[in-house]
Symmetry: C2
Subunit: 241 residues, 2 copies
Amino acid sequence: MSQHVFFHEELQLDSAQLNLPQDEAFHLAKVLRLKVGDAIAIINGGGISAEARIERIAMHGRSCEASCEIISARQIPPPCPALRLYVAPPKGRNMDLLLKEATELGVSRITPIICKYSVSKPDEGKEGWRQHLIVACKQSRNPWLPRIDAPISFEAVLEQGKELNFLGAVPRGGAREAMPDLEYARKNGAALWIGPEGGFSQEEENALLSKNAVPITVGNWILRVETAVPALLGFMHAILK
Amino acid sequence: MSQHVFFHEELQLDSAQLNLPQDEAFHLAKVLRLKVGDAIAIINGGGISAEARIERIAMHGRSCEASCEIISARQIPPPCPALRLYVAPPKGRNMDLLLKEATELGVSRITPIICKYSVSKPDEGKEGWRQHLIVACKQSRNPWLPRIDAPISFEAVLEQGKELNFLGAVPRGGAREAMPDLEYARKNGAALWIGPEGGFSQEEENALLSKNAVPITVGNWILRVETAVPALLGFMHAILK
C-alpha cells in the first residue's frame, strides 16, 4: 500500500513489459529516486491495476526512460452505482481541488456546466483538469480515471440527460423532501447536480425538478462548491449503499 | 441572503446598538466599502443571528470604527444531533480548508489529535485556527462557532470520550459492517474520528473498536483527510436524518 503508483494508458491485462511515459519516468527516477528492482504499481485509468518491477532506467540529461516488467495485472470492476457529477466550476485552484475530491470518491464522469449565475466560465482547461484527475487517481489508487467533458451550458446539457435518475443539490429546495428511486439509482447510476456559489437560478431549479431531480441538502448552512461536492457524494454513498 | 455577515461575540438577543470590533469595522468600511444605512447581518458564534443597519462609520487613518443599530435578533437552535470531530491535522493550508469544511457542515466541536503516524504535530496554532472558523461561520451563515481544542494525544483524548457514541472512520476496518446505534446518536450526538494520511495504527484502531466505534467508509479508494472530513460528515448527515 505504500508503493508508488504510476499512470500508463497502454497498460493491458496481458502486458509483459512497458516503457513508462516520459513524465512518469522523470517522476520515478528524478523525483522519487527509485532504482532498478524496486516494486511499483501501474494503473491505466480504465480499471486495470498492475504490480510491476523497474527493469531499466536511462537518463540523458533532463530526459528519462524507465521500463518495467509487469508481474501481475487485474481488472477492477467499475464503481457501482455509477455516479455522475454535473457541477458549475468554481474558480482556479478550487476547481482543481474539487476534481481531486470527486476522483477520490469514485465519480465516473464530470460535466462542467455553465449556469446563469456562474462566475467562472471556462471554455477549455480540459488538459489541466485531466492532469489533476490523473494525479488524484494515483494518490487514491483509483484505477478508474473519471471522464471529463468540455464545459457546456446548463440548458444544452439538460436536454441530453434524460436517461438518468438525477439527484439535484438544490439549496432552496428544502420544501420537497421526497427520496429518489433508490433501487433504480443503484442499478442505473445517479447524477449529482451542483450549482455555482450564487446557486441555480429559479428557472434552472424548476427545470431540474421537472426532470424528477430530488433536492438533497446536508446540514443547515451554505456550502462552498468544494465542500458541497464531497459532502453530497458522501450523502449519496450512504443512501445508495 | 446576499447580505454581508459580521462576527461580534458581544451580540445579545436584547442588544440595541453595537460597535463592531476593529478588524470587522475595517473589513466593512475599507474592503467592502459599505455605507451608513446599509443592511448587514451579525452573528455571535453562540447561535444568535441579527439583522442590523450601519449607523456610523469613522475612519482615522488605517483605523476604523463602525457602529450599527440592531433591528432584530434571534436565537438559532444548535445543530442536532451534535457532531464532534476528532481529526489528525493535515499540514498547513489543508488544515485551514478542513476547518472551513467542518464549520460549513455544522460540526459543534473539533479536537485535533496527535496519532502514532501523524506527520503534522502542531502544539498550538489555535488562534489562527479560530480565525478560519470565524470566516467560515460568516461565509456559510452558521451562527454556531465550533469549539476548537488544543491538540491532544490520541491516548489522552480516548480516556475522556466515554460518553460518546463514536463513529470511527477506520480505513482498514472494512470487515466490520455493523451500524451504530442511530437512535442513541440522534439524541446524544456522535463523534467522527479521522486519522492521519498514514491511517490509525493497529493499536489505535483496536482502541477505537473497543470503545464501540463503528467503521464507516465512503467509496473504495484512499481519501485525503480534507476529502474524508466532508464526505464522512455527509455520510453521517444521511444516516442520522
